[in-house]
Subunit: 383 residues, 2 copies
Amino acid sequence: MPSDSTVPAAAPNPLERFVAVIPAGGVGTRLWPLSRAAAPKFLHDLTGSGSTLIRATYDRLKPLAQGRFLVVTGRAHEAAVCRQIPELAAEDLVLESEPKDSGAAIGLAAAILYRRDPETIMGSFAADQVISPDSVFQAAVLEAVHTAASGGGRGKIVTIGIEPTHPSTGFGYIREGSALEVEGAPSARSVAEFVEKPSLEVAEKYLASGEYLWNAGMFVAPVALMLEHLAANQPELHAGLMEIADAWDTPERDEVTARVWPTLPKIAIDYAVAEPAAAAGDVAVVPGAFRWDDVGDFAAIGRLNSAREDEAVTVIGEGARVFADSASGVVVSDTKRVIALIGIEDVVIVDTPDALLVTTKEHAQKVKGAVDALKASGDTDVL
Amino acid sequence: MPSDSTVPAAAPNPLERFVAVIPAGGVGTRLWPLSRAAAPKFLHDLTGSGSTLIRATYDRLKPLAQGRFLVVTGRAHEAAVCRQIPELAAEDLVLESEPKDSGAAIGLAAAILYRRDPETIMGSFAADQVISPDSVFQAAVLEAVHTAASGGGRGKIVTIGIEPTHPSTGFGYIREGSALEVEGAPSARSVAEFVEKPSLEVAEKYLASGEYLWNAGMFVAPVALMLEHLAANQPELHAGLMEIADAWDTPERDEVTARVWPTLPKIAIDYAVAEPAAAAGDVAVVPGAFRWDDVGDFAAIGRLNSAREDEAVTVIGEGARVFADSASGVVVSDTKRVIALIGIEDVVIVDTPDALLVTTKEHAQKVKGAVDALKASGDTDVL
């Protein structure tokens, strides 16, 4: 972690208005049975670092946000999140009674922050991503904060786009436009367009062109500008969120939330804000040259634990006792059982107290189908 | 099970002198982690029949032996064996304080039975083999009993040789000699020789010749003849066993056994008795046309559960909840966990509360090596 001396202290510094929002939702079905409703992905240490993903996210943002955080998560995860981040005060936590997609979750964070201070610049960073090195990430966020504060009073919605390392068909892309002239953000550019997950052929063209970045869903923006676009594109969602936000720091919070939240439409923040804002010319991008992974499946876990790549079997989990003979792959263990692998290549084994997954790296993406089938068969106790 | 009417009642019937000896030893290391020191192979139902192997062995012999049994097992397994065969009286059980190989185990059974009745014909049948159909096995044992009682007062040591179905390199073979003329045993022949486990090339020749049978370690013999050969070939072992047998049904049993048993040499019954007896012309063979398997590894378990071969994954274990997608192989479950297999072929999974094995049918024979490695690493709690 860089020292705080990387954070410039000159006033007026837009970083003083910065609040880090951490949406911690999503079960991570493709990481079943490790990740599941009761113990979602962000509560696991998937990189062998000793930190859960949410704790690592918090630590990565701390030098920029200092104590200014808002974590949005499900009510069921309150205790686990507080154990992971004991620094959080009660007002730093937004608990959803039921999941409502990222539009409502991030929109509510924007609305609450707006009511607390309309000058706030929020930065939204999912709790379940892996990033390194932290210093490169922090430099990109810092540029994004400066860019978000630029352009007169209005500012920009600034995505952080990841420089692609391979022609992924699993991510959306951002096409960069012209360079912006922002003080403190030399690499900021306009966004020409957001594009959906491409075919492999298209992804290869994107990669070759050098004009495209991965859309990692990270953005920094003045909350006022977020809410302006939300009001324009999703007036019903905006009205409901403002009603909740008005009541949030009052005794009426629970009553109003219980009444309004269940009625809100489910929509991703990309559709509710980012794409229409880009069309309106209000979105910028700062490229991030850091390593980034959304840990989409167990093959990713194998990649992310490359520190042990001298061993053929990557073992995740403190208690695991793995014995391998002519075997390779990934073992994720949530138990203290002895696991013996003999003569099996590229295997993926996930061992938890009540469920066991055995697959291959090649088939790791199919785990979601297994979970759907278990759901259909009524074996929901392990989901 | 055939009715008792298959057992001839004409006197003097040598079957009335028949006692079934069931050596129940051997951990079955290649079936780890299902089979282990605390729960050896014979205490498992490996065929999905609803019976453990030792119970099935008892039931298969019951029409011939009636209540005349002697089970030789380790002291640690007394309670489990009695739960499996509640019919056993205290005098039907021989408990070893430490394992001493088959020479001492079967030799002690012979000596005890000899002291109780020197005219006894013993039949020794390991507790951990799978045989079907029972009726064909019983007919072969019956022929073996008649053969064992033949040849004047001396009798024969009669092995039951299995008609080979493939050129196995995992078993010893018996070369048949000339036909014997034994009343009640039309298929009995002399034994030309016992041969050790052959190479594949040699095994193929054996199979093609039609003169060879698998040595399954099953034999029927007058106890007096057994002891005669034991005395000639292993005088020290013989003397020790006779000393224990003299004290067995007296108050001195524990004292004498504790003193003598630990001093006895470890030797297989094949070397101590069968092979020298064959060289002396005292061994006959009755071919068995039944299906036989010593369940040597998990691939065997897959074969033995072919009743479910319409399904790609054979599941052994009552509590198992297996979900398979593009997968094939064998799952042996000793837990109630959900097991999801995705995109993995010919896999062998053995799931127990404290140890998990993942291998392939092809590598199933290597399990013993894993157990040795675990032993070397000190992970003996799961062995």
